[in-house]
């Protein structure tokens, strides 16, 4: 399509700002613009509309604020400090600190954290400050307890290393237990789906190729005015998961748009309101700003798989997610948004109003964000022992239609406690332990099929040992069959095998 990235072929920033000054700029919220473009085509819509406003209000863990407390008498080089019992980062100069959203209160963990401290400060509420120091010749004070409000601080600057994901994966759970995650509570057996991001209103999705969004872009941040200071951490434009690093003056923000939050058994975070005004400077921008919820897709990942590469259950559009129900494996499943669509719409509308009233002017970025970075995983270089190094391969198996006596004999002859039950192709269908045999005897059950455990917890040969140990703990079991990708039994790993291996080596993984 049209020329260089960021080319101002439809209208320039100066033209738009002149219209704002004159009071005849045409601004639509992104959902209204998408509707208009749907009716009349994006080309015609973009002739009339100068600016499209967006918004999102979601949990953004990589958020926090730099605070400068000012000096006490006598002065102090704070070595460690706490705000309402939440530790703040003190690896900075004497009275500078960074309070991060996910830091948790030492007295009320999981309930109150850095996000709440930020909300309390913005709301003008008193916050308890406690600090320790080792004392130096220039900074003699060693302890401090006082209360502060945001008005006492020299600076209170929100600096968020990663905000406003272009889109995010949706989440579900295939396991048999409730999972508590940063994607909220996930019910067992694909019982629900949660998602984040505002779809049609998503700031970064509406300028998909990041042609107007860059360093120096003025934005709505937490109810005040903020700026983009660069790409966010984990910025991954190649798969539509770009992010932003932003800053803004906390003292000019509004607690309605910065809310401390906590996810049950996960931890604390901060809901951040971000809104970006996208000037329709060229056809690329005019076209992507018109994308509807129907055009924006994401994957539903299975958070039941405790791996960084969780499998996708299916692709889904934001339109389907926002409908409240989607189909997984022929079953209709309820969907929860985690970011507030209501607040996202409110933010886009406020930004529209600011521009129409001449309070907010658009800024041309000094530099566009990179559009070619990738998000790399962290490879663990230290060698981790794997199941293949510990498992036993020469283990007997049994078929479900065989009798109890043969099972007992196999256990005794091989001196083992776990006997995998397989079908005609060697695929795992159950497991029988010596305890199961004892119970069968006690209650007079004679068929293997009746006494075997059918939902078997398994391991794979490349799985790290610590992951198997975690499963043994969680499910209170002492042995797991090792299976290949076709669920065929290739071995067995037991707690005994693991302790024997590491007892002789003299080290525990």
């Amino acid at each position: 399509m049209s020329g260089d990235r960021g080319a101002e072929t439809l209208r320039s920033y100066e033209e738009i700002n002149e219209k704002i000054r004159r009071g005849d700029v045409v601004v639509l919220t992104a959902d209204d613009y998408a509707r208009l473009a749907d009716e009349r085509g994006w080309r015609e819509a973009s002739r009339e509309v100068d600016v499209v406003t967006t918004g999102t209000f979601g949990a953004m863990c990589s958020s926090g604020a730099f605070l400068n407390f000012g000096h006490t008498e006598p002065p102090m080089k704070m070595h460690r400090c706490w705000l309402n019992d939440v530790p703040a980062y003190k690896g900075l100069a004497a009275v500078d600190a960074y309070i991060g959203a996910t830091a948790m209160s030492e007295t009320r963990p999981f309930e109150y954290g850095g996000g709440h401290v930020i909300e309390d400060l913005v709301a003008g509420r008193e916050v308890e400050l406690r600090a320790e120091a080792y004392g130096t010749d220039c900074y003699p004070r060693r302890y401090l307890e006082t209360s502060i409000t945001i008005y006492d601080l020299n600076q209170a600057i929100l600096v968020n290393p990663r905000n406003a994901y272009q889109r995010y994966n949706a989440a579900t759970n295939s396991t048999d237990r409730i999972l508590y995650t940063y994607m909220g509570t996930l019910l067992p057996y694909y019982g629900n789906v949660t998602f984040s991001g505002s779809g049609v209103l998503s700031p970064l999705y509406k300028d998909l190729y990041l042609e107007t969004i860059g360093i120096g872009t003025r934005i709505f941040l937490g109810g005040g005015i903020g700026y983009i200071i660069g790409e966010g951490t984990q910025h991954n434009p190649s798969i539509g998961m770009s992010t932003l690093m932003v800053r803004g003056d906390l003292r000019k923000m509004n607690p309605r748009y910065l809310r401390g939050a906590s996810f049950y058994r996960y931890g604390t975070t901060l809901y951040v309101g971000v809104g970006i005004a996208i000037p329709l400077i060229n056809e690329n921008v005019a076209k992507t700003a018109a994308l509807r919820d129907e055009d924006i897709y994401t994957d539903i990942l299975d958070y039941g798989v405790p791996s960084r590469s969780r499998p996708s259950v299916r692709r889904v559009s934001y339109a389907e997610l926002k409908s409240g129900r989607i189909v997984i494996n022929d079953r209709s499943v309820k969907v929860s948004p985690l970011s507030s669509m209501k607040m996202a719409m409110e933010i886009a509308s406020i930004l529209k109003k600011w521009i129409e009233e001449g309070i907010f002017y658009l800024s041309r970025p000094i530099e566009l964000l990179p559009n070619d970075t990738v998000f790399k995983p962290l490879e663990v270089r230290r060698r981790e022992p794997r199941v293949s190094e510990v498992m036993r391969r020469d283990i007997p198996t049994i078929k479900a239609d065989e009798d109890l006596r043969s099972a007992a004999k196999l256990l005794v002859d091989h001196g083992i406690d776990h006997l995998p039950v397989v079908d005609g192709y060697g695929r795992l269908v159950g497991i029988v332990t010596s305890w199961d045999i004892a119970r069968a005897l006690a209650y007079g059950r004679m068929k293997l099929e009746d006494i075997m455990t059918k939902r078997v917890i398994t391991a794979t040969d490349y799985e790290p040992i610590h992951s198997v140990v975690a499963k043994m703990e969680r499910y209170n079991i002492s042995g797991l069959p090792v299976v290949d990708s076709d669920n065929r039994v290739i071995g067995l790993i037991t707690a005994d095998d693991i302790s024997r291996k590491f007892a002789t080596r003299g080290a525990v993984p």
Binding site: F57, G58, A59, E111, G184, T185, L187, N192, V193, T194, R259, G260, A261, S262, F263, Y264, T269, Y271, G324, V333, K334, V335, S336, P337, L338, S339, S340, M341, K342, M343, M345
Partner: protein, 131 residues
């Protein structure tokens, strides 16, 4: 109508609740039951006419059971609620829904006090009044 019954431990071996079912000939829906060595608590709902309601309360009080009528099971702090919707997909009875304008709407009448939404609320805006 929803109510909470508190049984003293002297009634531990008396089938008071079953007697009430036989006496009033109404289907009761038990929402929560919690029995320990000291006392028993039953939260339940039933449709009763005005006159039956008086008899109903008297029936239990005569037997030493405390009766509390419950207006709502779920308390929502609308100041804290940000209408995110984290709770919506957890509700087993459609007591929480999202309106056209994306507000999260609570129908306390339908709530069965399962409590899933309470823990899942990121802003601690929800509370069960019976706990």
């Amino acid at each position: 109508m929803r109510f909470k019954l508190t049984f003293p431990k002297e009634l531990a071996d008396k089938p008071v609740f079953s007697e009430a079912i036989l006496r009033f000939h109404k289907p009761f829906n038990i929402i929560e039951a919690d029995v320990d060595a000291e006392k028993g608590i039953i939260v339940a709902s039933v449709d009763l006419s005005e006159s039956d309601l008086k008899d109903f309360i008297r029936f239990f009080e005569e037997r030493g059971v405390r009766v509390e009528l419950l207006a709502k099971l779920l308390e929502v702090d609308l100041e804290r609620c940000i209408s995110c919707g984290a709770c919506v997909s957890l509700c087993p009875v459609e007591a929480i829904t999202i309106a056209k304008d994306w507000s999260v709407v609570f129908d306390e009448e339908r709530c069965v006090a399962c409590g899933l939404c309470v823990n899942a609320c990121p802003t601690h805006a929800l509370k069960l009044s019976i706990r």
